[in-house]
Amino acid sequence: MTSPPLIQLQDVVKTLGVQRVLDGVNLSIQRGEITAVIGKSGSGKSVLLKHVIGLLEPDQGEILFDGRPRSAMNSAERSALKRRFSYVFQDTALFDFLNVFENVALPLAERHALPPAEVARRVRDKLSQLDLHAVETKYPSQLSGGMKKRVALARALVTEPEIVLFDEPTTGLDPIRKNAVHSMIIDYQRRLGFTGVVVSHEIPDIFFISQRVAMIDDGRILIEGTPEEIQLSSNREVRRFVEGLESPHDDLTGIDSAAIGHKRLLQEMSRLQRFRIPFSIVLLAVEGLEGVDRIEGHMAGQALFKAFAGHVIQNTYITDTCFRFGINKMMVVLPDTDKARARDFYHKLARTMNSHLHHSAGEALKGFDFNVSAGVAQADVDSSLEELVAAAEQGKTIFYQSREAS
């Protein structure tokens, strides 16, 4: 028997004013996963999140935690439940009468009976991880939007919560910072193991960081599944929404988006099956930055990824397709190419890598250790796309290793 989901919404109905915002929402959130909630603006995503934490009570329906309905809990139990949560507000909701340090310290100082020295230690720890130690004494009104988001993130994570709810954590950030926040969310999630619910518009980036995606429309969950299932869904509403937001180009790197790449793969596959024209893929991944637990690291990682993508594009032919495959991954589809020629491409890439990267992202990368690995695979008529990707993934070798600046 499987254990009940960590959070379960059953037929939740909520009417605000005259509008029925939630109209029978059913959603399960599994422990240790990141669940993304997508949907048009005004479709009730934030309202849904507020029900999960208990800022709003449902008119009908039930919200269960570990199988126990909240309505059956007494106030002490609800209070204990709330302490397992953190909530990152859309507009940060930082306390404007407190400075950055006090903002981050507040949840620790007010509700955990910790000695002040311990509070200060934990807060400083979190602030330096998010690269905020320099603005400790500033007030929220003196900070930029991106910095406020980071303070809000620090405030949410300082209590080491079990469940973190993010309400549009990246809205209004530039592509590098947006990707840095995403990579930070998955990085923290891996290390701290929290359960995350992310409300977001960021398609397709959100698909890279979540294990489950639920789309909400007209107050109901339209579809729920893995990111792949959503992207391949044939439901008209889902398609219209996903394609409407999905630009053909990845906004960080300028290379093709995952959806375009996927289409290209399917085309090549059918060409192979019908005309026996071979094709190969090269899977490239920037790795090793997980050890850097500061925003600088995540930012540098994204800057590196961007520079690296530029480098790859320069080395491809016009018939090749290069697309984003994950938060730190991209794939190159080489049509009419067998494995040997794909290897040539790979070697050429490796040879010119050094000079190019240092030229375009040298400053940002100083002091960080990372490596770039690549795997090459040739498509086989009998194998599926998944097997092809798995083969490339397996054959990955490191072909570029940064040297620590001496």
């Binding site: 949560f85 909530y87 306390f95 209590t159």
Partner: protein, 266 residues
């Protein structure tokens, strides 16, 4: 539409308004009671109360002194010319002292604090509400009533009587300035009459008034800010409306309760 409904059945409309008003009073009373009780929930929020005492009390000292001096001056002037007709200018001390201690002190102090601190309280709490800061407190399992409202209630209950006492003293000297220093009444007459006519019951009555005003002002101002989001106007407009309402309602309520209290205290 509203007007048509009112005209069709004016008595029902008046009744509705009255019921709404009574309901509002009830909600505000519960709001006060809840905030007041939370003052005593451990751990005691001494620091926050001290900050609010500084904000409501200390920062009002100057404006209270200023108002008190001029109130005293005018009382001295008016009283002198009214009394001189009957040749009893010696009673000026009593007149000034009694009107200050019984009425002017508590009422004008309350009005000045509403203008200075009450409006600020309503706006600050209102902004916290519309920018979701109060929701943020709730998500952290920090009781916003205890964190935001209780320290303000405690501070107001401390500050109002002290500011009233200050107002009385400064006003008394204001009366002396116009009555004696300018118009030539013997200062000895002024102060001895002031001393002999004011009784302990007057002073206690004044302090009772000031404590009741403190309750009224802090409750109305905090309540208006705290429930900004329940208005039909959102955002900045809602906050500005809440602030205006806080000032108007608390001023009116101060004058109304003043009349009621006076009838009981006299």
């Amino acid at each position: 539409m509203d007007l048509i409904v009112t005209l069709k059945n004016p008595i029902a409309a008046v009744g509705r308004e009255v019921l709404d008003f009574i309901r509002l009073m009830g909600r505000m009373f519960l709001f006060f009671l809840w905030g007041f009780l939370l003052i005593f929930q451990p751990p005691f929020q001494f620091d926050k109360i001290r900050q609010q005492v500084y904000f409501i009390g200390m920062k009002s000292v100057f404006v209270i002194c200023l108002t008190a001096v001029f109130t005293g001056l005018v009382l001295g002037l008016q009283g002198y010319y009214a009394l001189v007709k009957y040749g009893s200018t010696a009673a000026l001390g009593s007149a000034v002292a009694l009107s200050l201690v019984r009425e002017m002190g508590p009422v004008l102090t309350a009005i000045m604090v509403i203008a200075r601190a009450g409006s600020a309280m309503a706006a600050e709490i209102g902004i916290m509400r519309v920018s979701e800061q109060i929701d943020a407190l709730e998500t952290m399992d920090i009781n916003p009533m205890r964190y935001l409202i209780s320290p303000r209630i405690a501070a107001a209950l401390v500050c109002f009587p002290l500011l009233t006492a200050l107002f009385d003293v400064v006003g008394l000297y204001g009366g002396y300035l116009s009555g004696s220093a300018l118009l030539g009444l013997n200062p000895a007459f002024y102060f001895s009459r002031a001393q002999s006519s004011v009784e302990m019951s007057d002073i206690v009555g004044g302090f009772i008034k000031s404590i009741v005003f403190a309750m009224v002002v802090v409750t109305v101002c905090c309540f208006q800010g705290y429930y900004t989001h329940t208005r039909t106007e959102y955002g900045a407009k809602g906050v500005s409306l809440s602030t205006t309402q806080a000032v108007v309602i608390s001023c009116v309520l101060v004058l109304v309760t003043d009349y009621v209290l006076t009838t009981f205290l006299l």
